[in-house]
């Protein structure tokens, strides 16, 4: 799962003026025609840099995202949920594997990306810096965070970089199962005992602000990204994605008899857009820069996993027998 709100490289110096104008024009024309750019094709440095950054953030979000839900695998109530949640979180780790491979086609090795994650140099989706206190929190994530991710990923799957688009197509197919699983869990809590309903309502109240943050800052406050739109790196605006999510899921939440903790939330029947209280963007900024409820914990877990597994990776690199690839 992953959201929008990617943090792109600052665009003050794009370096485009140093690119070969003929190659650049041909590159842009190909994208304009809807062709995909492949790993061995010529591409501007800025394109390569921004894509590595975006795909890497996405991959990191998948493995960090496995942590808050992963803690509920061992506590899932009953065989059906236990098996489904294991498979769901396994999918997320598989997405990370797929995405690191896609990013590697642009020249950055996986090990280096993982190093940048644990040192805090690269970012991941902000929403995973919040804790999953109860079973209902894990149900919220499976249903609604994954739903938000699908909105973002379906848009990105129409982008210009071939390996990323192909990875996203596979990912979206799996995410749609996650969403069904999550919805199924939430329906059971909604129609269950008083206690189950209360758990789910509390989870919605807790997760609503991070969910609104999920798609990134409002367009009017976003970094100018015209060139990324033209190159089909960024495929739709943060506000458009947020609106699309609200349009699809607010009615479903209300239908189950839950409330959403925003009294200003309503659809404007004239514009067709949703109106809402702006979430606290200062908090968003604070959390994304490392000061959220779980940032330290998430990175510490990842760092420990990297350190504990180092001897295994080293042993894989030093086989005693050397294999020679046959020439024919």
């Amino acid at each position: 799962m992953y959201g929008g709100g990617n943090t792109f490289e600052p665009m003050k110096a794009t370096g485009i003026e140093n690119e070969d104008p003929v190659l650049l024009a041909e590159f842009e024309a190909r994208i304009e025609r809807g062709e995909k750019i492949e790993p061995h094709d010529w591409m501007p440095q800025l394109y390569r840099k921004q894509l590595i950054r975006m795909i890497e953030q996405h991959a990191h979000s998948e493995i960090i995202g496995a942590l808050p839900e992963g803690t509920w695998i061992t506590r899932a109530p009953g065989f059906k949920r236990k098996l489904a949640l294991m498979a769901k979180v396994q999918d997320e780790v598989g997405h990370a594997q797929l995405l690191y491979s896609a990013a590697e086609t642009l020249g950055k090795p996986r090990e280096q990306m993982l190093d940048d994650l644990v040192t805090g140099k690269s970012k991941y989706s902000n929403i995973f810096n919040y804790p999953a206190f109860t079973w209902a929190d894990s149900c919220f994530i499976s249903w609604l965070v994954d739903a938000g991710a699908i909105v973002n990923q379906l848009a990105n799957a129409r982008g210009s970089y071939g390996p990323y688009c192909r990875a996203l197509e596979r990912i979206c197919a799996e995410e749609s199962f996650h969403l069904k699983y999550g919805h199924h869990c939430v329906i059971h809590l909604a129609t269950g005992t008083e206690k189950q309903r209360e758990m789910m309502q509390a989870a919605i109240n807790r997760w609503w602000p991070p969910m609104m943050h999920f798609f990134g800052p409002p367009d009017k406050a976003s970094v100018h990204s015209e060139i990324l739109m033209r190159w089909k790196v960024k495929m739709s605006s943060n506000d458009d994605q947020r609106n699309q999510f609200l349009d699809m899921y607010v009615p479903k939440i209300w239908e189950l008899g839950f409330t959403i903790p925003d009294e200003n939330l309503k659809k404007n029947t004239v514009t067709g857009k949703w109106e809402y209280t702006e979430p606290d963007w200062a908090e968003f900024k604070r959390v994304i820069n490392g000061d959220g409820p779980c940032n330290a914990e998430r990175l510490a877990v990842r760092r420990t996993a990297e350190e504990r597994g180092r001897w295994v990776r080293k042993a894989l690199l030093t086989p005693k027998t050397e294999y020679v690839t046959p020439l024919a």
Binding site: L67, I73, V93, T193, K195, W311, K314, P319
Partner: protein, 251 residues
């Protein structure tokens, strides 16, 4: 057919699969490389699914529903071997345990495909196919890490020495052993153990590891009779944390 004997056999196998499946799932998000997170999760899903199928057979013999059996018993009512309940430890211990356990399970279910208890023979054929991948996975890793670096060999050797007495506990005899053998339900723990040793030796011989002399070891038994280490009850408390909020609720 002695139903009590069959139930005892099913319970110990189901409990083994459930508890080790649960332990394997604890690797999700923590593996030494992403591919191992994914592999341990696949094996976890297979094992938990296998336990569910075995509890279902028990249910057909008059025991409670699989969810109730799995999520509401206490440690002293579990019949798993102590090997599977031990904490994951470092990857070397998890890998060695996986190798020792799955080598035994693959052979156990292969033997059970011949069981005179028809529903079990049928299920064993299906499970046997899944376990083939588990042993393939274990063997590849044991051979690789067991002959790679000084550190990897040293770690695997230490874990092998630690796990071996617990692995021997897998073959703790049942009081119904002779019943099971004579009725053709299961050819028995002794036969399984000798096949297992042969297979374990075959793989270990291809590495720089040394198999401890089993004759000098005291098997860690008791698990089959509900005697467990201090690690099982906390695992069960965690597993049933949500379920116990309201065992009658639909989750």
């Amino acid at each position: 057919m002695n139903t009590l004997a069959v139930k005892e056999l099913l319970y110990k196998m189901a409990d083994d699969q459930l508890i080790l499946g649960h332990r394997n799932s604890e690797w999700t998000g923590f593996g030494p490389l992403l591919e191992e997170d994914i592999a341990f999760s696949s094996m976890a899903q297979d094992k938990v699914g296998q336990s569910q199928a075995l509890y279902q057979l028990l249910h057909e013999l008059g025991e409670a529903e699989p969810d109730t059996v799995a999520f509401t018993r206490n440690a002293d009512q579990f019949h798993n071997s102590q090997l599977v309940e031990l904490p994951n430890g470092e990857y070397d211990f998890s890998l060695i345990r996986h190798f020792l356990f799955d080598t035994a399970e693959a052979l156990r279910f292969e033997m059970l495909t011949q069981s005179s208890f028809e529903p079990l023979a049928k299920l064993a054929k299906k499970i046997q196919g899944e376990l083939r991948y588990h042993t393939m996975h274990a063997n590849i890793w044991i051979k690789q890490l067991g002959s790679a670096t000084e550190e990897s060999i040293g770690r695997l050797q230490k874990s092998l020495d630690e796990a071996m007495p617990y692995a021997l506990g897998l073959f703790e005899n049942s009081e119904f052993e002779s019943d099971l053998i004579s009725s053709g339900v299961f050819a028995g723990e002794e036969e399984l153990k000798s096949k297992w040793l042969e297979q374990v030796e075959k793989i270990i011989d291809q590495t720089q590891l040394t198999l401890p002399d089993v004759l000098t070891l005291t098997p860690k038994t008791g698990g089959r009779a509900g005697i467990h280490t201090e690690h099982l009850q906390p695992l069960l408390d965690e597993m049933s944390e949500v379920f116990r909020i309201d065992p009658t609720a639909e989750w």
